[in-house]
Symmetry: C2
Amino acid sequence: MYNKELLKGTLTTIVLKLLAKEGKMYGYELAQKVKEMSDEKILLKDGSLYPALHKLTKDGLLQFEEQYIGKRVRKYYYLTPAGTEREQVESEQLKAFMSTLKNMLFPDFNFQLQ
Amino acid sequence: MYNKELLKGTLTTIVLKLLAKEGKMYGYELAQKVKEMSDEKILLKDGSLYPALHKLTKDGLLQFEEQYIGKRVRKYYYLTPAGTEREQVESEQLKAFMSTLKNMLFPDFNFQLQ
DNA sequence: ATCAATACATTGTATTTCTATGTATTTACA
DNA sequence: TGTAAATACATAGAAATACAATGTATTGAT
């Protein structure tokens, strides 16, 4: 894991973006997906993820439906229309910020296309 | 200016990196340089920058020397050896984090080489 | 049977940057 | 010459965020 502070400000964008891509996901699944996609470098903690999901829900950007797998509950979260709009805005902002940072700090570095 | 939260975790890296590039700078100069290099998109506030400089100094990563321009004082900050080391570490961390984010969220986007 | 993994949750803490406010000097220009 | 804008520093308090620690409970593997 990197310097923890770096994640600040990007967590909700990551969540919104993944839900936009994948349709619906539950918390644990989201954390696993981020872990996998980041090559184990971004490890979302429960204490970050669940409060973030609750806040996004409270703000009307997410909804969820419960599914029971035996006795265990899963809350599948998905974007509301407002969430879809927000996802686009935040993605653009983050992309622009990253472009700016790259040009300021790493003008010669070539971020790999994988 | 972007979402304010995005800057979190990157401010000290920006300061260290610019000082590594430029040798020595004073606070106001740093803020202007960031404003210029970011095309007016990153506007460091006094309330962010000066406390950050004080903290980096307290932590032994920066030193400063005062210069008087008439009666007005300027504090020229520069990296200590520890600061130089830290700059390298933080730059690498930030670069790696940005690579990861890019691959996760914007795999098809081509961050321009300018 | 037991341990690891799955799946949810909350409280309190630490850190960070910003807002607001302040002092004072220098420069531009009307 | 007077005034506004820019220069240059500073601090106190507020707001936001992610984390650490802790908790409950179920399921799957051995």
